[in-house]
């Protein structure tokens, strides 16, 4: 069975069993919480069906959702009848699912009757009269006896009741009565009290042999679906376990491995120890356990590839290319943490191969290649690593273009390039600032540079290599560790301190002595080593880490590879390799780029793990590393450290560089100036079937006379706006630290980005220029002084607003932590995080802002924290409710000035009180 389908079945049958229980609960106790949950479940089912192309399921789910929606909005009362109807719909869904599971397709037939009933219910034409006949799915519809009733009749008939001609009269009468009853019921629409006698009467007295054929078909079809009740394969095979539980298990196992290592170390060297045998056994079991737990975290890499065929297909249509995407080794498994991290780089690289690598069919024909271009993805295991190859048979990298670009960007001089071999020159595409911005198309979307790809891969301890042959295509080889939690490391000693070097970076070890053929030679104090006809640059760990005790006894060189850069680290001694569990370093040490973490060795001592990237960076090869400073620990999701932000750097209205957080930019587009239309004197273009207003950075709305102009598209929900710029320069990842704040409207301030002073644009200023209602007016002044290092927790489900408010508040001098939901926020509370103020959205999926406030106020360390509610509709009623649950203040979402004012005054009030 299709993986997607079977996953859907598993998930849906789980949801359905929850639904059954919840619906019954709802009937007894119509609580909004339960209803919300039910609504969400049905909604999910509907959404997934639509996605998988299961129209029957989708329609039933949709109709049920409508009814549930009315419940939720309080327009319909939760009556037993209504719940019965929903349960029927659920039963129908189950039926269809059962069929799906056995035959992998939806059963024939249609659900018009059920849907009609659900729709009637939703519109308030509730056939309450029929309620007591709950067991039978066939309540009488309000008006003339419809197919259902006939079906019912037919059933009765089939059950052996003989038609009596003299009952014809009775039939007519019964029909009349049914009508009457229905009409009555409608009159007292919402009254749950029904007339139980009406239906049985109808049933008993209508053995009319006038069943309509569709009804027959329907009747016949259902039993088929239920027919062969195969043991459900879906239910038993898997259980769902919280990822957190798995993470915990993994941590425990890691600790166990450490303890085992410790024990082994103690027993080592004592041959006759009675512990040897049991320890051996313990060791084996630990290893097995480790593998087992590791497997639970493993997912096939195919999961990360799932969306690639679609992307390639779209590309091939858009670019008019014929592309054959081959995916080999999709079942290769790797740690889900790693999987998440390589998803985007992979997508990007495949897109690159298809977009830039492959030629059009004409060009391919001319080159004597098959018309259909090939992009091959291949994944396999190799010695504790996963290798992923992405290759295409396209034109290969354009050496001349890269050279030009390298010279233009000042990365190398012409003479330097002359001396390099092609493979070395290709590496330039990994350099920061090498994104080929001129090629930003709708296909490239928000073009992330290869440097980001490389940084991301290196962040997880992986490497990426590139081979390219003109006219034959290019191949990227990504090598990543199987898991991040436990790595194999080489333990070295330098100035009587021990350090660990991740094994993945170590190529070989060379022992140097003064009289051997391998000797360290100096070129003006720069140590180098002749190694197999190559000159290997060396770094002395002792000098690098400023360790100055102990006499000079450096004898080993650890040949290390970072990307394509190979260098040697001079150390005193080399010990064993050991499996280590990488732990993050304390926040106060995170700025030291030489270390990627620390760990506890078998003998119980703490040891620092060297970061080869950082060391390479310190040796001056930072340019080769894309970002260069990968100071963050490789493993940990870092909460406290200053995180990097991707920024889009562009030029507009002048020569100076401007930047905006990439996350705010929905897309990059290029518009033809010809296409700009004016309405109301405002420029706009037709974009994806809608009008998109255009705004220029200086408000002049002057565009180039002709040609194409790049546009940054900002979008939030229904609004889309284009900011016209002159040139897109680059996308860089850097710390967004605004150093000079500006008084100019539309400017957040100035920051150093990729080494250049760059103006950070306030997207929030330009949006209202396009839409009056996007934000409130922005002309109030607000104080930005003297609240340094006050920490604000921002809870908002919309990434747009998180991205918008975070820089805004940072500029205001606050330290902002943004999370996407109340449960995440509460998790931070559990972790013991402290804040000075909480800003929370009200409408959020899951826990709403009101519930969140109640939870915060009810217990825990944040009880006394000031809270500000943020909502798109701020009515008096909302305001009052916010106050009641514990919000100190309430601000309309679009009014950023009053938000800043409110924060300042709330904090000031608090300070005054303290």
């Amino acid at each position: 069975m299709d993986d997607l389908l079977s996953e859907f079945l598993t998930e849906t049958s789980e949801s359905l069993s929850v639904l059954d229980v919840e619906l019954v609960k709802l009937e007894q106790n119509p609580e909004p919480g339960i209803l919300q949950n039910i609504f969400r479940l049905v909604h999910t089912i509907k959404g997934t069906c639509g996605f998988l192309g299961l129209p029957r399921l989708e329609h039933v789910a949709h109709a049920s959702e409508n009814v549930l929606g009315k419940f939720r909005d309080g327009e319909l009362e939760v009556t037993p009848t209504a719940v019965t109807l929903i349960l029927q719909a659920i039963d129908r869904i189950k039926l269809i699912l059962g069929h799906l599971e056995q035959n992998e397709c939806e059963p024939e037939g249609e659900d018009g009757d059920l849907i009609a009933k659900l729709n009637d219910m939703a519109e308030g034409r509730s056939p309450t009269v029929a309620a007591p006949a709950a067991a039978a799915a066939e309540e009488a519809p309000p008006f003339p006896v419809a197919a259902d009733l006939l079906a019912e009749v037919e059933a009765a008939y089939a059950a052996g009741k003989k038609a009596a001609s003299d009952t014809d009269m009775l039939v007519e009468m019964a029909k009349e009565r049914a009508k009457e009853a229905a009409a009555q019921a409608q009159a007292q629409a919402q009254t749950p009290a029904a007339e139980p006698e009406a239906v049985p009467e109808v049933r008993a007295s209508v053995p009319a042999p006038t069943a309509s054929p569709p009804a027959l078909a329907k009747q016949a079809e259902h039993p088929v679906a239920v027919g062969e009740p195969k043991e459900s394969a879906v239910a038993a095979q898997t259980i769902r376990v919280n990822v957190e539980l798995l993470e915990n298990l993994m941590t425990l196992v890691s600790e166990l491995v450490l303890t085992r290592n410790q024990l082994l170390q103690m027993v080592r060297g004592r041959d006759d120890s009675e512990f040897t045998a049991p320890l051996q056994r313990l060791s084996h079991i630990t290893t097995d356990l480790q593998e087992g737990v590791m497997k639970t975290r493993m997912q096939p890499i195919g999961n990360a590839w799932a969306k690639l065929p679609r992307i390639v297909r779209d590309l091939s249509i858009e670019m008019n290319k014929k592309i054959d995407l081959q995916m080999l080794g999709a079942e290769t498994e790797l740690d889900r943490q790693v999987l998440e991290l390589i998803k985007d780089p992979l997508t990007h690289m495949v897109r690159n191969s298809a977009d830039h690598g492959l030629e059009g069919p004409e060009e391919r024909k001319r080159a004597g290649k098959p018309e259909i271009g090939k992009v091959v993805l291949n994944a396999f295991h190799e010695g504790g690593h996963i290798i992923i190859e992405i290759s295409d048979d396209g034109r290969g990298l354009n050496l001349d273009r890269i050279k030009q670009k390298a010279i233009a960007n000042g990365l190398a001089s012409e003479s330097e390039l002359e001396a390099m071999n092609p493979q070395q020159i290709y590496q330039f595409i990994f350099k920061a600032g090498f994104s080929t911005a001129e090629k930003v198309t709708s296909v490239s979307g928000r073009g992330v540079g290869m440097d980001v790809v490389r940084t991301n891969i290196e962040k997880i301890g992986g490497t990426v290599e590139l081979k390219s042959q003109p006219g034959r295509g290019s191949t990227f080889v990504i090598k990543i560790p199987l898991t991040l939690a436990i790595v194999s490391a080489l333990i070295v000693e330098c100035a009587s301190e021990r350090f660990a070097i991740p094994q993945i970076s170590v190529l070989e070890l060379v022992r140097v002595t003064n009289n051997s053929e391998h000797g360290i030679e100096m070129i003006n104090n720069a140590p180098v080593l002749r190694l197999r006809d190559r000159l290997l640059p060396l770094v002395s760990l002792k000098k690098l880490l400023r360790l100055n005790n102990g006499e000079d006894q450096e004898t080993f060189i650890v040949v290390t590879q970072v990307g394509t850069y190979t260098f040697g680290i001079i150390v005193d001694r080399v010990f064993d390799t050991e499996e280590i569990v990488v732990k993050p370093v304390a926040p106060i040490l995170r700025h030291i780029s030489m270390f990627s973490g620390n760990t506890i060795l078998g003998d119980g001592s703490v040891i620092m793990i060297l970061d080869p990237n950082g060391i390479a960076g310190a040796t001056g090869e930072s340019g080769m590393l894309g970002g260069g400073q990968t100071t963050e620990s490789t493993v940990v999701r870092d909460l406290h450290g200053d995180s990097k932000t991707s920024l889009l750097v562009f030029r507009a209205g002048g020569e100076d560089l401007k930047a905006v957080p990439l996350a705010l930019v929905a897309r990059l587009e290029e518009i033809d100036v010809k296409d700009v239309e004016y309405s109301h004197g405002k420029p706009m273009v037709q974009y994806r079937g809608h009008l998109m207003p255009l705004v220029s950075i200086d408000g002049s709305n002057q565009f180039a006379a002709e040609g194409r102009q790049p546009v940054l598209v900002f979008s939030d929900r229904d609004h889309t706006m284009g900011l016209v710029v002159e040139e897109i320069v680059d996308i860089v990842e850097d710390r967004l630290k605004v150093e000079l704040s500006a008084n100019n409207p539309g400017v957040i301030g100035t920051a150093v980005i990729a080494g250049k002073a760059t103006t950070i644009i306030d997207a929030g200023y330009y949006l209202p220029q396009a839409f009056g209602d996007w934000f409130g007016r922005a002309d109030l002044e607000y104080g930005t002084d003297d609240h340094a290092a006050l920490r604000i927790l921002l809870v908002d489900d919309s990434p747009f607003f998180r991205n918008l408010l975070t820089p805004l508040l940072s500029v205001g001098g606050y330290e902002v932590t943004a999370v996407e939901g109340a449960d995440r926020a509460l998790a931070l509370r559990e972790q013991g995080q402290d804040f000075d103020l909480i800003i929370s959205d009200i409408e959020m999926p899951g826990m709403s802002g009101f519930e969140f406030a109640t939870a915060v106020r009810s217990e825990g360390r944040w009880q006394m924290l000031p809270m500000i509610a943020l909502s798109s509709h701020a009515t008096e009623k909302d305001f009052e409710r916010g106050r009641q649950v514990g919000f100190n203040d309430y601000v309309a979402k679009f009014d950023r000035d009053s938000l800043l004012q409110t924060i300042a005054s709330t904090l000031a009030a608090l300070k005054g009180a303290a």
Binding site: E255, L545, L589, M594
Partner: protein, 161 residues
């Protein structure tokens, strides 16, 4: 290694502002300092500490406390005092700061004192600015003064660099 309190966190205790507060006392150069008892995880004797190259001077290194890595901070250096005499082995108080453990190295750890709020006073303005930064206030004891250490500020290394 004597364990005093497993830091059972009772949220809200700081805010309730009770009549008295419990402090773990410790000494550096004869000066008495105090840390709220509930923030203290362990009290340690001399430990094997791994030096961390390139770390701030006040960071003495890291150590292994029952499988967790603890960063040791030399409070003496942090307070701008002279290096301790070589033979002084010292003791440490382990505190939890945002989920990370830090070991504060001091000369000696004393007893736990229960101090009435009435004896608490704000920092005198004449106090050394560096100390004022790390001190949350002073308690007047019978024979000496106790400086309440603000652990969060003491461990906030970003500010001073």
């Amino acid at each position: 290694m004597n364990q005093i309190v497993p830091a059972s966190k009772r949220p809200g205790t700081e805010l309730a502002a009770p009549e008295t507060q419990d402090y773990v006392t410790m000494f550096i150069d004869g000066q008495m300092f105090g840390i709220q008892v509930l923030t203290v995880q362990d009290v340690l004797g001399p430990q094997k500490i791994t030096r961390i190259p390139l770390a701030p001077r006040e960071v003495a290194g890291s150590l292994n406390l029952r499988g967790r890595i603890v960063t040791a901070v030399d409070v003496r250096l942090r307070l701008g005092l002279r290096n301790a005499a070589e033979d002084n082995k010292g003791m440490s108080v382990v505190v939890d700061q945002n989920g990370e453990l830090y070991s504060l190295m001091v000369d000696q750890v004393g007893e736990v004192l229960t101090l009435p709020a009435a004896k608490f006073e704000r920092n005198p303005p004449t106090l050394d600015p560096m100390w004022r930064e790390f001190s949350a206030g002073i308690y007047r004891l019978e024979d000496k003064l106790l400086v309440v250490l603000d652990v969060a500020k003491l461990l906030d290394f970003n500010k001073n660099e």
